[in-house]
């Protein structure tokens, strides 16, 4: 047991820091509680990822032959920690890097790997994820989009929802039903769909924050070449599981650093804002809640390390991934709840006496409502923990 960096890890961390110091344009810096959606900054963000790629930082743990750095998961985690610590913008191609790419590496043919992977790293081609549908959210296996064979093409029809980055994406990982007769999880195929194909209609979906991070997508008679199937026909559910496993991967290290930064900001705020005429930090109830948030956010850091040690040692992700996401999302809601309470009635405005932070906290409070829903609701995560970790019987 040793929580320090090894000399190699420390050297790697320093290399990341030095590179970020030299290359991160401070004017572009965004804090973790960033107000705006990335859409107007897409070009800048694309350029930023290009810079990361040139520096060799996109795909730290990807194989060298596909343009990655060929380093380990530990280095990948350190990279995300340092990115978050320096408040650097995350790479724009998050779906490509975190989900599509790793799935192509595992299930793709060589020609697919050659075709797609390096352009994911450079952000030349941005990816989106066509999994959820209006009738298939938590119950993903209920998806109804269909793909029917027509010669050497498949013709796709259906509707997808909550699609992050679809409005700027070149490619989409898309689940469609190819065998309507097969049992729910059997007749699904995993496609790589060109978003510039005729029949793809993307409409921004405004969320409760007032911004539109994601979209609805309507697919009408979209023709996809057969070679764009990833993995085998009707084996899409298994391929999709690889994608979903990666969804809760090393990116968590960035989230846990961001959560720590947010808690430190909240503590600083509690020293300034008054409660009953005294600094809020002196209120015993507030102190209890801050202490509890530290317990939770420190647990995120440690849970991440435990998960990583398990994967590095056994090659199999442990239960920590689901536990970490559940804890992170619930904690972020509690943290922003507390921030709003610290502001009191002023928290009902979004601008008050020149406090520049209020606007960010208000946005964060709204945004964090989605944390316990996206990437597996807390209820689905508890099902996963109960059934796959504890071995309890299925709930239906």
């Amino acid at each position: 047991m040793d929580f320090r960096d090894t000399p190699e890890e420390a050297a790697f961390r320093k290399e990341v820091r030095d590179w970020l110091d030299a290359n991160l344009d401070r004017a572009q810096m965004q804090t973790q509680l960033s107000v705006g959606p990335p859409e107007e900054r897409i070009d800048n963000l694309r350029a930023w990822q290009g810079k990361l790629h040139e520096g060799g930082w996109a795909g730290v743990s990807w194989p060298k032959e596909y343009g990655g750095r060929g380093a380990g998961l530990m280095e990948q985690a350190i990279f995300y920690q340092e990115m978050a610590r320096s408040k650097a913008p995350a790479p724009i191609n998050v779906i490509g890097l975190g989900m599509a790419g790793p799935t192509i590496i595992v299930h793709g043919r060589e020609d697919q790997k050659q075709r797609y992977l390096s352009k994911i790293l450079s952000a030349e081609e941005i990816w989106c994820q066509g999994f959820s549908e209006p009738g298939a959210g938590s119950d993903l296996g209920a998806l109804r989009s269909s793909a029917v064979q027509d010669g050497d093409h498949y013709v796709i029809n259906g509707q997808k929802v909550w699609t992050t980055l679809a409005h700027v994406a070149k490619w989409c990982i898309f689940l469609a039903r190819t065998d309507p007769e097969a049992p729910k999880h059997k007749g699904i195929t995993y496609f790589l769909v060109d978003m510039e194909s005729p029949g793809v209609d993307v409409r921004p979906l405004k969320q409760m924050t007032g911004t539109a991070e994601f979209n609805e997508m309507f697919f009408t008679d979209v023709r996809v070449p057969r070679e764009n199937i990833l993995g085998d026909l009707n084996d899409g559910w298994r391929v999709a599981m690889t994608t979903l496993m990666n969804e809760r991967g090393t990116l968590g290290f960035a989230l846990s650093v961001q959560a720590r930064i947010a808690l430190d900001e909240l503590i600083a705020k509690a020293k300034v804002l008054k409660r009953n005429g005294k600094p809020a930090i002196e209120d015993p109830v507030i102190r209890q809640r801050i202490g509890q948030l530290h317990v939770e956010i420190e647990a995120l850091r440690l849970t991440g390390y435990r998960a990583l040690s398990t994967v590095i040692k056994t090659g199999i992700p442990g239960p920590e991934g689901s536990l970490g996401k559940l804890l992170w999302s619930e904690s972020m809601k509690r943290l922003t709840d507390l921030a709003m309470e610290l502001y009191g009635p002023a928290g009902l405005t979004t601008e008050w006496k020149g406090d520049d932070d209020l606007k960010r906290w208000a946005f964060a409070a709204l945004r964090s409502r989605g944390n316990t829903i996206e990437a597996g609701t807390s209820e689905i995560l508890r099902n996963i923990i109960a059934e796959r970790v504890l071995g309890l019987p299925r709930h239906r």
Binding site: M1, D2, F3, R4, D5, T6, E9, M74, D264, I267, A268, K271, I281, P284, R287, Q288, I290, G291, Q292, H294, V295, E296, E298, A299, L302, T303, Y305, R306, L308, S309, K313, P319, E320, L323, L326, L327, E379, L381, R382, N383, I385, A386, E387, V389, L390, G391, L392, P393, R394, H395, R396
Partner: protein, 382 residues
């Protein structure tokens, strides 16, 4: 970075689990609870032979020379098996106080006491000199006065775990009045024979770990019974370590409770289905796992941080005890709830776990007390 145990540590855990499954467990606890002394002398002898009490004591004093992480492993396993022995009071309270006492300029009695724990089978505990079971310097009400031949005490230390079993007791007492309560305190080693009256345990919720008042009035000890003057800094360090060890025990208890709740939820059927298929039950179990594993991560990190003298070691200890006290309470409550009526009966073993969990939760300070320390540290740092 490596968040894992080495092969020797895994082997220690394995052997501890085997021994304790065989010789302790709820049945052993129940027997001890119903006995006059609340302890299992035969098991203590076995533990002595295995050298567990001396795991963290250096080799020159007859120990194995390992560290806090090995002790954490043993505390977790004794918790899991509800071992009815004074392991906590001996290694976590007395042991840590002795270890934090400077070997140089300290008394030869310190070395002797460590040797007796490591290889002599001695049972020990600590009396923090408090009237009402507090753990802070201001709460120390026992006093010690110099005499011609040594020291004489006045006052009573309350709620001392296993005092009736102890061969010797580490006593914190005020030597000098001071405006700063953390100054003027001494740490003494008081052999049980020196006491005027044998500590009589209170009827205790955890019947296999009883609490007793230690009456120190007119008790006399020789000069070299004083192990340290200005002892509070070392006492505070020892209490941080003891808190992490108690937190480790809490994690062990919670793990055993959760395993039983899950096993019961799989086998018990109502409405023609195993109750574990109902989300009202399964989500409770998932939440129990979350708090238990969270506490476990904190405990391992804190043990490492204390051992390495990491800058955040005290904060880590506070975080660990806060998390473990919460886990102890939540899992003790909900694992009984999952069992329904049967879990509420005297015959069932769940209440035995509840009793030990309660000790782990409340002793040395509950979750709120440690959360307050967490925030105090954070607010001071930022």
């Amino acid at each position: 970075m490596d968040f894992g145990f080495n092969d020797e540590q895994e082997a220690l855990r394995q052997s501890a689990r085997e021994v304790l499954t065989d010789k302790a467990g709820p049945a052993g606890y129940r027997k001890a609870m119903g006995s006059k002394t609340g302890t299992d002398d035969a098991l203590w002898k076995t533990i002595g032979e295995l050298g567990w009490a001396g795991v963290a004591i250096d080799e020159q004093h007859g120990g194995l020379g390992l560290g806090l992480i090995e002790l954490v492993i043993l505390m977790e396993e004794t918790g899991r098996a509800l071992a009815p022995v004074p392991f906590f009071s001996t290694v976590a309270l007395a042991g840590q106080l002795l270890e934090q006492t400077s070997p140089n300029g300290g008394s030869a009695r310190r070395d002797e006491a460590l040797r007796e724990i490591a290889s002599g089978g001695a049972r020990a505990t600590a009396a923090l000199g408090q009237k009402d079971g507090r753990y802070d310097a201001a709460g120390v009400s026992v006093k010690a006065a110099r005499t011609e031949n040594g020291w004489t005490f006045s006052g009573t230390a309350s709620l001392v775990p296993e005092a009736h079993l102890a061969d010797f007791i580490l006593v914190v007492a005020r030597i000098e009045k001071s405006r700063n309560p953390e100054e003027g305190l001494g740490l003494f080693l008081v052999p049980a024979q020196a006491l005027k009256s044998k500590p009589k345990p209170q009827p205790s919720l955890d019947g296999a770990r009883r609490l007793a008042d230690v009456r120190l009035g007119k008790v006399e000890v020789p000069t070299d019974a004083l192990l340290a003057e200005n002892a509070w800094p070392l006492v505070a360090r020892a209490l941080d370590r003891a808190a992490v060890l108690l937190a480790a025990e809490a994690v062990g208890v919670a793990t055993a409770q959760l395993e039983r709740a899950v096993a019961y939820a799989r086998e018990r059927s109502q409405f023609d289905r195993p109750i574990g298929s109902f989300q009202a039950i399964s989500h409770k179990c998932a939440d129990m796992l979350l708090v238990t594993e969270t506490a476990r991560s904190h405990v391992y990190y804190a043990a490492w941080a204390l051992e390495e003298g990491a800058p955040d070691a005290r904060l880590a200890a506070a975080t660990a005890k806060a998390a473990a006290s919460d886990a102890a309470r939540i899992v003790a409550n909900d694992s009984i709830q999952v069992h329904g009526g049967i879990g509420f009966t005297w015959e069932h073993e769940m209440h035995l776990f509840y009793r030990r969990a309660k000790f782990c939760e409340l002793y040395l300070g509950d979750a709120s007390a440690w959360r307050e320390r967490v925030t105090a540290a954070l607010a001071a740092a930022s």
